[in-house]
């Protein structure tokens, strides 16, 4: 039973933000889904202060062993989330982690403050893969900038704060260290890697409506392993590892690299019950080879 920021979780497998919609899944698969919920905690997709429609389609490109997406974080905004989604998500049989993103310190502060007051929210994950409107840099690409944001919002809540690091930076371990120093209770990685696809037969024209997107799935798994290992050896706070996990063996490798929890993202698209299968495979691996439980 992993202990993560004071949460007692049934197993180490959670979902990656934006890759599982528990409310839509309940509609599609019925209440049975809740009875055998695939994850030990549920991470919401990114919520922003104001509602967002997301990027123009097409938003998806299938890559070799992966997916390039330019969804653009569509969501109902904080108010819509609190009024419509939170009551539904509170009925889930597992703790709720709400993922948020703001493009200024003030926006992040407003989100953290409002969600920190809600007892249904067990932890807040900060998605810092957003360009800062003033500097144009990803909030999470620069250690000093991220430290500044976190120091401003950390005092606003006692709810655990997880910082979801961006992999699109030169030195992810330094950014993670800055997050820890500024009061993050945990870090999670990797988010998607920036990428581009071209329209077949149309020279130089990008396929995605937003031109570029983020790459996920098995194609990024080895990048995830390297970044998780680098971060876990640098910080003492727990690490949520993710990127391309499709099996218990993949999950185990991330745990061995230093992760406390493992998130499953894109694999849930092919198999909505993947989280349950992977946690089963993981405990089987641990049972068959007792030494792995030492991690």
């Amino acid at each position: 039973m992993p202990d993560f920021c004071g949460l007692e979780l049934a197993h180490p497998i959670v979902n990656g933000s934006g890759t599982f919609d528990a409310i839509a899944a309940r509609r599609a698969f019925g209440d049975e889904l809740d009875a055998a919920f695939p994850f030990s905690a549920f991470v919401s997709k990114t919520i922003t202060l104001a509602p967002r429609e997301g990027n123009p389609p097409p938003r998806l490109w299938e890559a070799a062993g992966g997916l390039l997406n330019s969804i653009g974080l569509p969501n109902k905004g904080l108010e819509g989330y609190l009024a419509e989604d939170l009551p539904e998500l509170a009925r889930l049989p597992v703790p709720l982690i709400t993922n948020v993103m703001g493009s200024t310190v003030e926006e992040v502060a407003a989100l953290v403050e409002a969600l920190g007051e809600r007892e249904e929210v067990a932890a807040i994950e900060l998605n810092v893969s957003c360009p800062n409107v003033r500097t144009g840099l990803d909030l999470g690409a620069d250690a000093a900038e991220l430290g500044r944001v976190l120091r401003a919002v950390r005092p606003l809540t006692a709810t655990p704060l997880i910082v979801k690091l961006t992999p699109n930076t030169a030195d992810v371990a330094s950014v993670a260290a800055a997050a820890e120093e500024a009061g993050a209770d945990a870090v999670s990685l990797i988010n998607t890697l920036r990428g581009m696809a071209m329209q077949p037969g149309r020279a130089g024209r990008p396929w995605l409506g937003a031109r570029t997107g983020g790459l996920s799935g098995p194609a990024v798994r080895h990048v995830a392993l390297a970044q998780v290992a680098a971060v876990a050896s640098r910080v003492a706070v727990p690490v949520v590892g993710m990127g391309g996990v499709t099996s218990g063996r993949d999950a185990l490798e991330l745990l061995h690299a230093g992760a406390t929890l493992v998130a499953v993202g894109t694999e849930s698209f092919r198999d909505p019950a993947a989280g349950r299968r992977i946690s089963g495979e993981l405990s089987e691996l641990a049972a068959n080879r007792p030494f792995v439980s030492e991690v």
Binding site: T19, R27, A28, P57, R59, E62, I71, R270, D271, P272
Partner: protein, 253 residues
Amino acid sequence: MTANEPLGPYRVIAAADPAGPVPAAGQFFMLSAGERWGGGEGGRPFLPRAFSMLRREGDELRFMLEDVGPGTNRLATLEPGDGLLVVGPLGAGFTPGDTRRALLVGGGVGVPPLCCLQDELLAHRVETTALVGFRSATHAAAATLLRDPRVATDDGSIGHHGLVTELLERELDGAGGSERTVFACGPPAMLEAVRRLCVERALPAQLALESGMACGFGACFGCVVSLRAGGYVRLCVDGPVLDAHVLAEVPAH
């Protein structure tokens, strides 16, 4: 997989689904091969692929597909006994309500959802007319899945030489045309023409659309189409069947 048979240039495949819920006409499933999904050119397919239910017969779900790329190719070459991952039924299907006279309009691989819809309408003694368009007479083999279809082909090798929407227009302008409800599924250009004809005549019409999908169950927000009133809906949860009147146009992708 329990069967995989040719139908003209198409394949009709069947999957055992003894415990699954009963799907409604127009609902779809996400399919992927149990093994070696991902082994094709360029490392594809990777994501599951969406297919409308053709019919449910006993414990079997039937689908009709056309081999147009790595995903459909892999599914088309599976053999009975091979593992198939079937997720569904998904999405919102056709809602005929108290429709009295139904006009079914289809093209190519858009025929399957109209077949189960026609079964349902006939069981309720609703008068149905089926109009279907294909590239050629060999493709028109799929018309045999429907009862009393009227066929159009691009090359005139069978039936009306021209577009199925020309048959539709004639039907709508004929006696009783204005009392019909139109149910359509097919390629984007065909659906867009159907949408225009129905909007011009203020006729009720339900269109089964396609879009690129990664998950099919509302998780990824990748499948959106834009609405006339602004904003997007996820085609996999709010569709694939949408009211023609809420669309600004049928998207080309």
